[in-house]
Symmetry: C2
Subunit: 243 residues, 2 copies
DNA sequence: ATAAATCAACACGTTACGTGCGGTTCAATA
DNA sequence: TATTGAACCGCACGTAACGTGTTGATTTAT
């Protein structure tokens, strides 16, 4: 027989928590003293341990109450459901991580907080990737879209950093002469970055270029808006003409 | 100028939420009508959009309040801190996922809910892996411990399932004759599983065997308690003697 | 028997709002 | 201009899982 204090020490759960579990009917003590103090026996202890295990597995107290009186079928369903929840949360966190990394690196390259970049990144990760790329449907085929999504998912921190550096550089020099050496250099570093990501898939690159040119909404796969695209176009056209 | 309803529609945030943000001083409307209705201008809208972006990035409203009036240094720190938080949560979820998968598969192999298995699995994932393997310090060297931790982290769902099947089978037959064909078969399926995981590192296997034999606490790397170990020992000893 | 420790029971605080209410103000129509 | 319906304000209570603190009763140790 344990008083509530002993039980608390034995299990590491605070007295208040046991209070609360009593209050919501999760564990009622099996007996009481004449004065009204709660006494827990070994069976109660076992029940508490089960509660703690289930809590660790991420169930709410309400779910635990149900599970502890339920059949095996309830069990299996509950666990599958919980697994689904965990997987969704993992997806969300992985997007969140990328968004934070993006903002973090952008802070390194620019002296001020770049809000439009932040909006771009968060928008980019807000809805499901598939939904996001829906708008490119007119320009890219399914295979190409999947290739981009796949690549996006596999981007490492280093990749994000490099992209942001290249695009950040360009954004700071949008107004320079398209035929200047600096402009050509910027365009080339962008091109090499693209090549590193997509390889030499000329058809894909061409389709993407067309998509980016035509879409009103600025943000593309990475925080590359129309400003940047237009700059690149100017440089490439100038280069063509020089030949 | 937007009334609170228009702003709500424009941004997708509920009126109550805007109410609340006003209440805690996160966005005060820049002006009001004579009757007291709140009016928001473009600057207010921008502030709201920033708030939403930060909220998506996982900050609390209190943090957002601080960030929005702070300097760039605050920014960088906040983001790093948030990244840390995300990474910890990712770790936790990955353990949680494994625990749930373990219980799920154990439900497939046994007809009833196996609480001791659940305790084993949750204990296994509760504290940090390094802490957990601390107790093996006397028997395994650092390199070996790291190898096990590494292997544990890389276990796929399929691996977990196979382990649980093998161990579950053994647990259901703890009392059979160690020289019976069934016993030998069980021991061999266990051995092949071990080999699949650890390769042919004889020294590691021997050290692990010793550790498992000597530790009072039953749970080892997978829900394999002393019962199982003892069974395996009996079979192997019987085999030796038969030779 | 008395002091010290423990306990029960209650209340309020936490986060980010949802839901609902009565009363006021706004915008559009008769 | 008067009316009416929609929008709005301010307030209050509810949520999940407890933490913190209080007061008064009970148990334990001396």
């Amino acid at each position: 027989m344990y008083t509530i204090g002993k039980l608390s020490k034995k299990t590491g759960v605070t007295v208040r928590t046991l209070d609360y579990y009593d209050e919501i009917g999760l564990i009622k003590p099996s007996s009481k003293t004449d004065g009204g103090h709660r006494l827990y026996n070994d069976e109660d202890v076992m029940r508490l341990e089960r509660i703690l295990a289930l809590k660790y597995m991420g169930f709410t107290l309400e779910q635990i109450k149900e599970i502890l009186k339920g059949a095996t079928t309830t069990w299996y369903e509950s666990i599958q459901q919980q697994l689904e929840l965990v997987k969704r949360e993992q997806k969300r966190l992985s997007m969140l991580e990328k968004a934070l990394l993006g903002v973090s690196h952008s802070l390194e390259f620019e002296r001020e907080v770049n809000w439009s970049l932040i909006f771009g990144i968060t928008q980019l990760f807000q809805q499901d990737q598939e939904d996001l790329f829906q708008q490119y449907d007119d320009y890219l085929n399914e295979e190409e879209i999947n290739k981009i999504i796949d690549m996006d998912a596999q981007m490492t921190e280093e990749d994000i950093k490099e992209w942001l550096k290249v695009i950040g550089d360009i954004k700071h020099n949008l107004d320079i002469d398209p035929v200047s050496e600096k402009a050509v250099q910027l365009a080339e570093s962008w091109l090499s970055q693209v090549e590193k990501m997509f390889g030499n898939d000329e058809a894909l690159l061409e389709d993407m270029r067309e998509a980016l040119q035509n879409l009103k909404e600025g943000v593309a796969f990475y925080p590359m808006d129309k400003d940047v695209i237009d700059f690149l176009e100017r440089v490439f056209i100038a280069k063509e003409e020089l030949k």
